[in-house]
Amino acid sequence: MRWSTEDIPSFVKERQYVDTVLLPLLPVEFGDGIRQSAAMTEFITVMTAELEKQFRGRILLAPSYTYLAADEESRPSSEELNKWIESMKKEKLKHIILLTADSSWKKAEHDLDAFLIWMPLVPLENLEASYKKQVISEQIKQLLPVIMDIWKKEGNS
């Protein structure tokens, strides 16, 4: 379900069935990395929208978590993000799936109380529309079983 006035009422009504949050993690950069930042935003936004369509009865697509991109040495702080995760868990959203193209989260994976899926960025900007679709659906096909596995492993609601 989307974060919209149209979908949220059914989320509230069907809470027992919606036990999963999909949270896009989007690094923001205004300097040299601005292109990269835009490309990641585009890619992850398309992916999460598509996953929402596939699993909308069980997944709530949360508004993206945006943060200033970390530089080479440092890594993004997991503290603030963990606060988000905590408040979701408090609301009985038991499966939290983070989707990102930012590889720096891989280093912080163990500090996060959620399931991190990192995907290498596929730049969509120069692709023809039909090819773009094909690329996305290939990626989605690989992601679907990953998510179903999370449900299986972490147990059903």
Partner: protein
């Protein structure tokens, strides 16, 4: 004197009249095309029935296969291309096209994806299941059958229209 004043059109009045006249024409020019745009899609939808070509009849078997098709959809802000998926199979003479949207909460079902129930549609979200003809299986969350597309065959091509409830 006063009589004459009333009948004479002053320069300002003249301008006002003519401008209104021209403005009137311009407005008409603008409104007409808009009306045409507003009416056309309706007429089209009626004549074409908004059927979308999906596949060749020769591709169909008696096992449901997935076919994607796309069309443009307009909402308040933009036009976007929407892709839908139908599961289509041949059942005797009839061609059956079922929506892949679970009638429970809208996840996407697929045919035979649960190894325990190879001859049913299965929803990965809460284990909803349906028979081949779309009938929901009791004891699973869905309370109504999968929606069914209107189907038309023209010159060997399968067209689908709107998906409608089976109940």
């Amino acid at each position: 004197m006063s009589d004459e004043q009333n009948h004479n059109v002053s320069r300002r009045q003249f301008l006002t009249y003519t401008l209104t006249g021209v403005g009137g024409f311009m407005a008409a020019g603008i409104i007409l095309p808009m009306a045409r745009f507003a009416i056309d899609p309706v007429l089209q939808a009626e004549s074409e029935g908004d059927m979308k070509a999906v596949t060749d009849v020769s591709e169909l078997t008696d096992t449901p296969q997935r076919f994607d098709f796309s069309y443009e959809q307009e909402d308040a802000w933009n036009t976007s291309e929407v892709t839908e998926t139908a599961f289509i199979y041949q059942s005797g003479e009839e061609i059956v096209a079922l929506s892949n949207t679970c009638t429970h909460l809208g996840c996407k079902v697929s045919w035979g994806s649960s190894s325990d129930h190879p001859n049913q549609f299965y929803c990965p979200c809460h284990g909803g299941r349906y028979e081949k003809d779309g009938t929901n299986i009791e004891g699973t969350p869905p309370t109504e059958p999968l929606h069914k597309y209107q189907v038309e065959v023209r010159e060997g091509t399968v067209y689908v229209g709107k998906a409608e409830p089976q109940v």
